[in-house]
Amino acid sequence: MITYLEAIRAAQSKILADDPRAYIYGQDVGEFGGAFKATKNLAKEFPGRVIDAPISEDAMIGSAIGAAIEGLRPIIEIQYADFSTPGFNQIVNHAATLFWRTQVKCPITVRLPSGGTAGSGPFHSQSMEGVYAQYPGMVILTPATVEDAYSMLLEAVAIDDPVLFCEHKYLYYHLKAEGLPTEALPVGKARIARQGRDVTVVTYSAMVHECLAAAEELVAEGYQVEIVDLRSIKPIDTDTVLASVARTGRLLAVGEAWPWGGVTAEIVARVASEGFTLLDAPPRRLNAKNTPIPFHPNLWGTHRPTAPTIARALRELLRV
């Protein structure tokens, strides 16, 4: 069995072995192996190519841009996605604009350990993908499975544009697979995580698993829920979403990020404007609460969508 975290480590090991242009730069990634051990033993296996960075996210991203200009493929590990904000300027104003301004490609991969875990609190739990997706010039990946964590990270480093790789910390140890995949859907293609005829749930990352559990709850009530795992939130595979809504006539978009704007709003907007006549009921969204992310597990468990709250939202939507 291999965990989501081990898949990320294995992908980085393969990248370093296969591509001499790749290197890893981040806080504590060297001999220590990373705060989550995503780079365990890699410094030993690849001397000089897994480099400890000072606590300087702005300079870490800036340096990656320079290295990319010089033809390398940096992987930047930001310790928590929340700490990408000090590097925000270099990500959105520099990496994301470089090719458009200069025609020089900027193939950097920024790993953002994202999302909440019990007890992590306001500054170690955030989901930043929607904020970054607002800016043009980047690819944003949100793997929900062990297989995708592996194959999408391989693909991220191969992409010639800046990639934000939003790996979910809750899945690091919880999620296991039999082994590493040998083939994968390409980046930009969504996946039907569960087939159903009554309602479409569009989601991504750790919320895929909460939605799968909610769908199981509804089986006993006679409902078949279809779940679309977006995999990539920029680009969004709008066709797969619309095709699913065409089959079910109902849409619930679920995300762990905050409710103002973001991925779920984008999904609802697209379906409303392109697939209005496919809908038998008003499209709905379910997101985290509109407060900072609380520390205590009791509060955190209610702050984000979970299987019971998703099931409740689905029941309401199915009754319309």
Binding site: S56, A59, G66, L72, T97, T102
Partner: protein
């Protein structure tokens, strides 16, 4: 090492002094032309002059060589030219020609050819320093040695977090980085005492554990010597080099700014001297150029600029219908729904 010794001996050979003067003059006259075009309503956006900073900037551009990395800032027209920028690249960018390096997507000082080591600045001050650091880290990872990376900032830019993070990173990695700080006394309108409280900006070098140098940027001899020395020290393995140059901006922040906040006493003080005029006097005094040669050089330089501007003014502007509205190099990864 704090190199604060005053310059006591002028350059003893004609070159590189005369060559530096040529770059300075070309930059000055080019920027005067651009300012005229701006006042005539021929340039969209702003025009930002390096007037008073040419000796420093030209010295840096000339101290670098092919294969080095250079990330100039807004007042580095002279350095850009000395590093290899063609006059037409500057004019095309300012006038928004479709044929320019930025193709109308970017204007004025936001230009470069990163593939040639000539990085294109973004507007956020301090951002380029870590990018140059990364370029140098890449060279090292690729096993390439001997290259230097240089970038420039002003007194105001030293107040940014990016400045601190990048210099600290450069020091940790012992990178061959040359950072030129042009202290032109004002960050837009804000005087030094509202930007920093240290005795001298060069003292910051001690805090980072890197070598620092002072230079009087009105003095071309001093600039060539101090900047050239710093570049050589970076190249020969002495780690990051900080140069703090003292000068006065002899223009507004941009051509929209009359710089009424600069006191007359400062303009009349030694820091307010014009480096170009001082270099011209030195050329005459030392017998390196005659008044007639200077006049000929000026006329030829003006003609080159006028011809270039005339050429660019006939070039096509960007066409929104021909524009590729995709920010990704891999167009298949563009989000088709929002790309329309």
């Amino acid at each position: 090492m704090l190199d604060t010794a005053p310059v006591t001996h002028p350059a003893t050979v004609r070159e590189p002094f005369a060559q530096a003067y040529r770059w300075m003059l070309l930059a000055r006259l080019l920027e005067e032309k651009l300012a005229n075009l701006y006042r005539g309503g021929k340039i969209n956006g702003g025009v930002f002059l390096g007037k008073g900073q040419e000796a420093l900037s030209a010295s840096l551009g000339m101290s670098l060589r092919k294969g080095d990395i250079f990330a100039p800032l807004i007042r580095d027209q002279a350095g850009r030219l000395a590093f290899g920028e063609e006059v037409i690249e500057a004019v095309r960018t300012y006038l928004g020609s479709r044929l320019g390096p930025m193709r109308g997507r970017e204007g004025n000082v936001h230009r470069g050819r990163p593939q040639d080591g000539y990085y294109a600045m973004i507007s956020h001050l301090g951002a380029m320093i870590s990018v140059v650091c990364g370029g140098l880290m890449a060279r090292r990872l690729k096993g390439e040695t001997g290259a230097v990376g240089a970038t420039c900032i002003g007194d105001g830019g030293t107040s940014t977090g990016s400045f601190h993070e990048a210099l600290n990173l450069a020091a940790i990695e012992k990178l061959p980085l040359v950072l030129v700080i042009a202290n032109n006394q004002f960050a837009y309108s804000t005087p030094n005492h509202r930007e920093f409280a240290c005795r001298d900006l060069v003292d910051k070098a001690i805090g980072y554990g890197i070598e620092g140098h002072n230079v009087d940027a009105t003095d071309l001899d001093a600039c060539l010597r101090v900047v050239g020395n710093a570049v050589e020290r970076a190249r020969s393995g002495h780690g990051p080099q900080m140069i703090v140059a003292n000068l006065l901006r002899l223009a507004g922040h941009g051509e929209h700014d009359d710089a009424g906040y600069i006191p007359q006493e400062l303009k009349d003080s030694p820091v307010g001297r014009d480096c170009l005029k001082l270099a011209e006097c030195a050329l005459l005094e030392r017998g390196w150029m005659s008044a007639a040669e200077l006049e000929t050089l000026r006329e030829e330089t003006l003609r080159q600029i006028e011809e270039t501007v005339a050429t660019v003014q006939r070039e096509p502007a960007p066409d929104p219908d021909q524009e590729n509205w995709c920010a990704l190099s891999n167009e298949s990864l563009d989000d088709l729904f929002v790309a329309r």
